[in-house]
């Protein structure tokens, strides 16, 4: 990969909630077309970092670059339109149908009126909900809601999809369906940042991994590179992760 292939560059990003520093001078780059994993235990600063990138926490320190240009999504709707967010919560309207949710968010994303139907249909297919499109979301299972949550985030074909622990609370079948959806999106060239604290998910999906711990980046690379860095060549991601953050994890426990 060359430097020009970097879609998002995070340069010394810092964020504090009052006196509590959540993210400490974090730097990394996300390359076009890759799934970049953001791995770390609860409280590592993953969601805060993602919120800064999404423009939800605008008063951060450091700099963001998107496709080589300064990126300020909080102040610029055009910049935000390049992002898709799949939040940890099921950010859907329960009393509206799957189709109505997709239609509404398509409008909010500025999808042209004559393209809304096509975008909604694509979203329903991605979520595997074509047959249940007219049902209210409240009647969906947890897995169906998760799939719709993903489809809403990807509705407007964003350049970068931000996924914040998108598999929380789903059964193995739905999780597998979500993985297939995400891999399908990558094949179509979608760039994604995927946060999770599930090692096997990150190892299966992500091309590279950023390991975060207590607000800092303590490693970047493929599973093999991280294992080598941790002094455990050939180990799986979980072993490498524990080797890198083991003491801290024991402290948390």
């Amino acid at each position: 990969m060359t430097e020009s292939a970097d879609l998002l560059v995070v340069d010394e990003l810092r964020y504090a909630y009052g006196d509590r520093v959540a993210v400490k001078s974090v730097s990394f780059a996300c390359r076009s077309g890759e799934i970049l994993g953001l791995l770390g235990p609860n409280g590592a600063g993953k969601t805060t970092l993602l919120s800064c990138v999404a423009g939800l926490l605008p008063s951060f320190g450091g700099k963001l670059m998107f496709a080589g240009k300064s990126f300020e999504p909080a102040d610029d709707a055009e910049s935000r339109s390049r992002l898709g967010l799949v939040p940890q919560e099921l950010a859907l309207y329960d009393d509206m149908s799957g189709r109505e949710n997709l239609q509404f968010f398509a409008r909010m994303q500025g999808v042209a009126p004559d393209q809304i139907d096509a975008a909604v249909q694509q979203g329903l297919e991605l979520a595997g909900l074509v047959d249940r499109a007219e049902d209210r979301v409240s009647a969906y299972s947890g897995g169906m809601k998760r799939r719709l949550n993903l489809a809403v985030g990807d509705l407007h074909n964003p350049d970068l999809l931000l996924l914040d622990e998108p598999t929380t609370g789903v059964d193995p079948q739905s999780r597998n369906h979500l993985f297939e959806c995400l891999l399908g999106l990558r094949e179509r060239g979608r760039t994604m940042i995927y946060t999770s604290h599930y090692m096997e998910e990150v190892q299966r999906l992500c091309d590279r991994i950023v390991v975060m711990h207590e607000g800092e980046v303590i490693g970047i690379g493929t599973t093999e590179e991280l294992a080598a860095k941790a002094g455990k060549p050939g180990a799986n991601l979980e072993d490498a992760f524990l080797a890198m953050t083991g003491r801290s994890l024991r402290d948390e426990g």
Binding site: A54, G55, L56, L57, P58, S59, P73, A74, A77, E78, R80, S81, L83, G84, L85, P87, Q88, E89, L90, A91, L92, Y93, D95, M96, E100, F104, F105, R107, M108, Q109, G110, V152, G153, H156
Partner: protein, 448 residues
Amino acid sequence: MNTWSAALAIARKDLSLYRRDRTGLLLGLLLPIVLVAVFGSVMKFAFGGDGGMMKVTLWVADEDGSTESERFVAALRNVSMVSVRPRANQEPATAERLRERVKDGEAHHALVIGKGFGELLSKGQEPPLTMVRDPGRQLEARLIGISMMQAMMSAGDGRAMSWMMGSMMRRQGMSEAGVKRLQASMDAVQNVLGLFASGSDPEVRSESAPAAGEASLDMTSMFMDLVPVQHEDVAPPARPKNLGYQLAQSVSGMTVMMLMFGLMACSSMLLIERDQGTLRRLLVSRAPRHALLLGKFIFCFIVGMVQLMVLFAFGEIVFSIDAYRDPLTLLALSVTWAAAATSFGILVSVWAKSTKQAEGLSTLLILVMAALGGCWFPIQMAELPWYGEVITRSTLTFWAMEGFQGMFWHQKSLTDPVMLRAMGVQWGFVLIAAFLSVRLWRKRFLGT
């Protein structure tokens, strides 16, 4: 995507959700109608549909059973201020039963007409009347006292005036000799009045007097009008005859208060969106961020206008409040109040840190403002100290009531200075609330 199209899309989505939320609809539309119906009916029945005096209940036991006592009870039934129980078609009550009623709190006043009432009254002497009462009910006592006097004057064709004056002055400490001289004078007065009423002596009638028998001599009215006051009615000619002040106040008050509750529930959807995560998603979308706040305002405003129109239509159909007499003024008042109440709801929502906090604070503020602003009872009737005036006029509800009562009761039009002032104060609040809401929105929701 521009701000307006995004705001309208959000408002349309919220309206769609609101329509599907049956509990929300129930609270927003049906509950205000039920409250307006209940309060309006209570006021109408309590004060009479013609805006007359409040009726109080007086239980009566006639132990005498004479023609005179029956005439007295019949006269009491005709007095507008009391409602006599048992009704004429019901079984008569006994004195013992009525004492039990007062003792049990089922009645506050019970009049016992003792044996010998008719005989003593016909002799012009003080008849045996006992009022069994709850001494704490002073307001009712005064109304019943006036009603008894009216009934006694009416039943006795004025002959009761002599002994009533005698009895009253005796209680004031007048000697028997003084009472006799007073009653002799009263008898002389009564005698002349009798000649006037019968027309038997042409010397006591002027040419302008109606012929004897054409109009009976109304002793009650004469007594009430002893102080020569020329009455000049200045009620607006367009005011419906059956519209009482309390009814108009009740319909306006309940409408003003319930709109605030309804819109508070709507505007808290902003906090619900934050809690369920959809707000984060919308903030990351292409829609201009202030459009989210504007969309909520438009949604609440539309719901508020619908609520007002439904409530006024209900008031028109059930209570004939003549709501649509001046559609332009009604529209202006409704737009103003819907905007002010929406601004209040949005301001509380962006200030509160949680839905629970918003609900608690808004309930407290709305109830206090409703009471101080005159939504529950006509606070304008009370003479308040200067600081009380300042407090009541500081409430949003006071100015909303000023506007609606100005239209319904005083029949004022849009261009009247009172109406312009009432609406101006509300629009002033809208501007201040909008300014504060945007600042809080930026700070609490956008983090800027």
